[in-house]
Protein backbone atom coordinates (compact mmCIF):
# COMPACT_ATOMS: atom_id res chain seq x y z
CA UNK A 1 0.00 0.00 0.00
CA UNK A 2 1.22 3.54 0.52
CA UNK A 3 3.92 4.75 2.85
CA UNK A 4 6.06 2.69 5.21
CA UNK A 5 3.22 0.70 6.76
CA UNK A 6 1.43 -2.31 5.43
CA UNK A 7 -2.34 -2.17 5.60
CA UNK A 8 -4.02 -4.35 8.22
CA UNK A 9 -7.43 -4.17 9.85
CA UNK A 10 -7.72 -1.53 12.51
CA UNK A 11 -9.83 -3.88 14.61
CA UNK A 12 -6.85 -6.25 14.74
CA UNK A 13 -4.68 -3.39 16.09
CA UNK A 14 -3.48 -2.67 12.59
CA UNK A 15 -1.60 0.46 11.69
CA UNK A 16 -3.68 3.55 11.13
CA UNK A 17 -2.76 6.73 9.32
CA UNK A 18 -4.56 9.84 10.32
CA UNK A 19 -5.09 12.38 7.60
CA UNK A 20 -6.91 15.53 8.72
CA UNK A 21 -9.93 16.37 6.62
CA UNK A 22 -8.78 19.94 6.11
CA UNK A 23 -5.51 21.81 5.69
CA UNK A 24 -3.87 23.68 8.53
CA UNK A 25 -3.12 27.39 8.27
CA UNK A 26 0.57 27.00 7.44
CA UNK A 27 -0.23 24.35 4.85
CA UNK A 28 -2.76 26.71 3.27
CA UNK A 29 -0.14 29.45 3.23
CA UNK A 30 2.28 27.19 1.38
CA UNK A 31 -0.44 26.25 -1.10
CA UNK A 32 -1.11 29.93 -1.79
CA UNK A 33 2.61 30.50 -2.29
CA UNK A 34 2.80 27.62 -4.75
CA UNK A 35 -0.13 29.09 -6.69
CA UNK A 36 1.64 32.45 -6.79
CA UNK A 37 4.83 30.78 -8.02
CA UNK A 38 2.97 29.22 -10.92
CA UNK A 39 1.34 32.59 -11.65
CA UNK A 40 4.84 34.05 -11.91
CA UNK A 41 5.96 31.36 -14.32
CA UNK A 42 2.97 32.03 -16.57
CA UNK A 43 3.56 35.77 -16.31
CA UNK A 44 7.22 35.35 -17.27
CA UNK A 45 6.31 33.34 -20.33
CA UNK A 46 3.73 35.95 -21.26
CA UNK A 47 6.27 38.75 -20.95
CA UNK A 48 8.64 36.96 -23.28
CA UNK A 49 6.25 37.88 -26.09
CA UNK A 50 5.99 34.34 -27.42
CA UNK A 51 2.55 33.28 -28.58
CA UNK A 52 1.27 29.74 -28.34
CA UNK A 53 -1.93 27.95 -27.52
CA UNK A 54 -0.69 26.59 -24.19
CA UNK A 55 -0.03 30.17 -23.10
CA UNK A 56 -3.58 31.15 -24.09
CA UNK A 57 -4.89 28.30 -21.98
CA UNK A 58 -2.60 29.15 -19.07
CA UNK A 59 -3.68 32.79 -19.08
CA UNK A 60 -7.31 31.66 -18.93
CA UNK A 61 -6.61 29.99 -15.56
CA UNK A 62 -7.58 32.08 -12.54
CA UNK A 63 -4.76 33.75 -10.65
CA UNK A 64 -4.24 33.08 -6.95
CA UNK A 65 -5.86 36.34 -5.85
CA UNK A 66 -8.86 35.67 -8.10
CA UNK A 67 -9.54 32.20 -6.72
CA UNK A 68 -12.05 31.68 -3.94
CA UNK A 69 -10.69 29.82 -0.91
CA UNK A 70 -12.89 26.88 -1.79
CA UNK A 71 -10.97 26.35 -5.02
CA UNK A 72 -7.57 26.77 -3.39
CA UNK A 73 -8.06 24.17 -0.65
CA UNK A 74 -10.72 21.78 -1.99
CA UNK A 75 -11.30 19.96 -5.22
CA UNK A 76 -14.37 18.50 -6.92
CA UNK A 77 -15.15 14.88 -6.12
CA UNK A 78 -18.37 13.26 -7.30
CA UNK A 79 -18.48 10.77 -4.43
CA UNK A 80 -17.93 13.12 -1.51
CA UNK A 81 -20.66 14.64 0.57
CA UNK A 82 -21.00 18.17 -0.77
CA UNK A 83 -19.10 17.04 -3.92
CA UNK A 84 -15.87 18.49 -2.59
CA UNK A 85 -12.88 16.94 -0.87
CA UNK A 86 -9.67 18.35 0.53
CA UNK A 87 -7.15 19.13 -2.17
CA UNK A 88 -4.41 17.47 -0.10
CA UNK A 89 -6.07 14.12 -0.73
CA UNK A 90 -5.19 14.28 -4.42
CA UNK A 91 -1.92 12.43 -5.08
CA UNK A 92 0.91 14.77 -6.14
CA UNK A 93 -1.39 17.75 -5.48
CA UNK A 94 1.57 20.03 -4.81
CA UNK A 95 2.86 19.42 -8.32
CA UNK A 96 -0.39 19.46 -10.30
CA UNK A 97 -2.61 22.23 -11.59
CA UNK A 98 -5.99 21.84 -9.90
CA UNK A 99 -7.44 25.31 -10.22
CA UNK A 100 -10.65 24.67 -12.07
CA UNK A 101 -13.66 22.64 -10.99
CA UNK A 102 -16.98 21.91 -12.69
CA UNK A 103 -19.31 24.88 -12.73
CA UNK A 104 -21.71 25.00 -9.81
CA UNK A 105 -19.79 22.63 -7.52
Amino acid sequence: MFGAFRASPVSASGLLWKVPWRLSAPRKARQRQRLRDVDEVIETVRQSGVQCESLTRALALPKEYEMPAKDKYTVFNRRSKGYRKGIHKVPKWTRLTLRENPLGF
Binding site: V41, Q47, S48, V50, C52, S54, A58, R95
Partner: protein
Protein backbone atom coordinates in the same frame (compact mmCIF):
# COMPACT_ATOMS: atom_id res chain seq x y z
CA UNK B 1 -15.62 48.46 -3.50
CA UNK B 2 -14.09 45.05 -4.10
CA UNK B 3 -12.45 46.33 -7.26
CA UNK B 4 -10.81 49.13 -5.26
CA UNK B 5 -9.37 46.66 -2.78
CA UNK B 6 -8.03 44.17 -5.31
CA UNK B 7 -5.33 46.34 -6.98
CA UNK B 8 -3.75 47.14 -3.60
CA UNK B 9 -3.68 43.45 -2.66
CA UNK B 10 -2.23 42.64 -6.06
CA UNK B 11 0.70 45.02 -5.61
CA UNK B 12 1.42 43.68 -2.13
CA UNK B 13 1.36 40.11 -3.40
CA UNK B 14 3.59 40.94 -6.34
CA UNK B 15 6.09 42.61 -4.06
CA UNK B 16 6.17 39.59 -1.79
CA UNK B 17 6.50 37.28 -4.77
CA UNK B 18 9.40 39.31 -6.14
CA UNK B 19 11.11 39.10 -2.73
CA UNK B 20 10.70 35.33 -2.81
CA UNK B 21 12.10 35.26 -6.32
CA UNK B 22 15.15 37.30 -5.37
CA UNK B 23 15.91 35.00 -2.44
CA UNK B 24 15.46 31.88 -4.54
CA UNK B 25 17.93 32.59 -7.36
CA UNK B 26 20.38 29.75 -7.84
CA UNK B 27 22.86 30.75 -10.53
CA UNK B 28 25.82 32.37 -8.82
CA UNK B 29 27.12 34.19 -11.89
CA UNK B 30 28.74 37.33 -10.51
CA UNK B 31 27.59 39.61 -13.28
CA UNK B 32 24.07 38.37 -13.25
CA UNK B 33 23.37 38.42 -9.51
CA UNK B 34 21.36 41.59 -9.85
CA UNK B 35 19.75 40.49 -13.10
CA UNK B 36 18.82 37.21 -11.46
CA UNK B 37 17.27 39.09 -8.56
CA UNK B 38 15.12 41.19 -10.84
CA UNK B 39 11.57 39.92 -10.70
CA UNK B 40 9.85 38.73 -13.83
CA UNK B 41 7.29 41.48 -13.37
CA UNK B 42 10.07 44.07 -13.83
CA UNK B 43 11.71 42.31 -16.76
CA UNK B 44 11.88 45.10 -19.36
CA UNK B 45 13.66 47.48 -16.98
CA UNK B 46 16.14 45.19 -15.22
CA UNK B 47 17.93 46.25 -12.07
CA UNK B 48 21.20 46.35 -14.00
CA UNK B 49 19.67 49.18 -15.99
CA UNK B 50 20.51 47.50 -19.29
CA UNK B 51 18.25 47.92 -22.27
CA UNK B 52 19.25 44.62 -23.82
CA UNK B 53 16.39 42.69 -25.29
CA UNK B 54 15.49 39.64 -23.19
CA UNK B 55 15.87 36.79 -25.60
CA UNK B 56 16.24 33.65 -23.49
CA UNK B 57 14.40 31.70 -20.84
CA UNK B 58 16.46 30.77 -17.80
CA UNK B 59 14.79 27.60 -16.57
CA UNK B 60 15.58 25.97 -13.22
CA UNK B 61 13.97 22.76 -12.03
CA UNK B 62 12.66 23.21 -8.48
CA UNK B 63 10.38 20.20 -8.02
CA UNK B 64 11.14 16.80 -9.43
CA UNK B 65 8.86 14.81 -11.69
CA UNK B 66 9.22 11.63 -9.64
CA UNK B 67 5.87 9.90 -9.44
CA UNK B 68 4.37 12.02 -12.19
CA UNK B 69 3.30 10.62 -15.56
CA UNK B 70 5.87 10.07 -18.27
CA UNK B 71 4.86 13.14 -20.26
CA UNK B 72 6.32 15.38 -17.52
CA UNK B 73 9.55 13.44 -17.42
CA UNK B 74 9.77 13.53 -21.20
CA UNK B 75 9.18 17.28 -21.24
CA UNK B 76 11.98 17.86 -18.75
CA UNK B 77 14.28 15.64 -20.80
CA UNK B 78 13.44 17.62 -23.91
CA UNK B 79 14.29 20.82 -22.03
CA UNK B 80 17.69 19.31 -21.29
CA UNK B 81 17.13 19.05 -17.54
CA UNK B 82 18.31 15.93 -15.78
CA UNK B 83 18.28 16.76 -12.10
CA UNK B 84 16.68 19.12 -9.60
CA UNK B 85 18.16 22.63 -9.35
CA UNK B 86 19.74 22.29 -12.77
CA UNK B 87 19.60 25.51 -14.79
CA UNK B 88 19.15 25.56 -18.55
CA UNK B 89 18.92 28.42 -21.04
CA UNK B 90 16.60 28.25 -24.02
CA UNK B 91 15.94 30.95 -26.61
CA UNK B 92 12.44 32.34 -26.79
CA UNK B 93 10.26 30.20 -29.02
CA UNK B 94 6.72 28.81 -28.93
CA UNK B 95 8.16 25.32 -28.48
CA UNK B 96 10.15 26.31 -25.41
CA UNK B 97 7.18 28.20 -24.02
CA UNK B 98 4.93 25.19 -24.48
CA UNK B 99 7.41 22.92 -22.71
CA UNK B 100 7.73 25.33 -19.81
CA UNK B 101 3.97 25.62 -19.46
CA UNK B 102 3.57 21.88 -19.41
CA UNK B 103 5.83 21.65 -16.35
CA UNK B 104 4.95 25.05 -14.92
CA UNK B 105 4.38 23.58 -11.45
CA UNK B 106 7.89 22.19 -11.31
CA UNK B 107 9.97 24.94 -12.77
CA UNK B 108 11.15 28.50 -12.13
CA UNK B 109 11.63 30.76 -15.16
CA UNK B 110 13.22 34.11 -15.79
CA UNK B 111 13.69 36.16 -18.95
CA UNK B 112 17.36 36.99 -19.49
CA UNK B 113 19.33 38.77 -22.21
CA UNK B 114 21.69 36.80 -24.43
CA UNK B 115 24.72 38.13 -22.55
CA UNK B 116 23.72 36.17 -19.44
CA UNK B 117 23.33 32.82 -21.15
CA UNK B 118 25.75 30.27 -19.69
CA UNK B 119 26.65 26.79 -20.80
CA UNK B 120 27.02 24.01 -18.25
CA UNK B 121 30.80 24.46 -18.10
CA UNK B 122 30.47 28.22 -17.71
CA UNK B 123 27.99 27.82 -14.87
CA UNK B 124 30.43 25.51 -13.12
CA UNK B 125 33.23 28.01 -13.61
CA UNK B 126 31.09 30.79 -12.15
CA UNK B 127 30.46 28.74 -9.03
CA UNK B 128 34.19 28.35 -8.32
CA UNK B 129 35.62 30.64 -5.69
CA UNK B 130 38.46 32.89 -6.81
CA UNK B 131 41.87 31.74 -5.66
CA UNK B 132 43.45 33.89 -3.00
CA UNK B 133 46.70 34.08 -4.93
CA UNK B 134 48.01 34.56 -8.44
CA UNK B 135 50.92 32.65 -9.94
CA UNK B 136 53.53 35.26 -10.86
CA UNK B 137 56.53 33.14 -11.75
CA UNK B 138 57.62 29.51 -11.78
CA UNK B 139 61.00 28.44 -10.41
CA UNK B 140 61.00 25.05 -12.09
CA UNK B 141 60.99 24.40 -15.84
Amino acid sequence: MASMILPRRLSALQTRASLVRSMATTSATPGSSSAGASSSSAAPSTLTGESEPLTHFKITLRRSAIGLPDRYKATLESLGIWRRMQTVFMPHSPEAAGKILRVKELVEVQNVPASLVRTKAEQRQDRKAPRGYAVVDRMLS
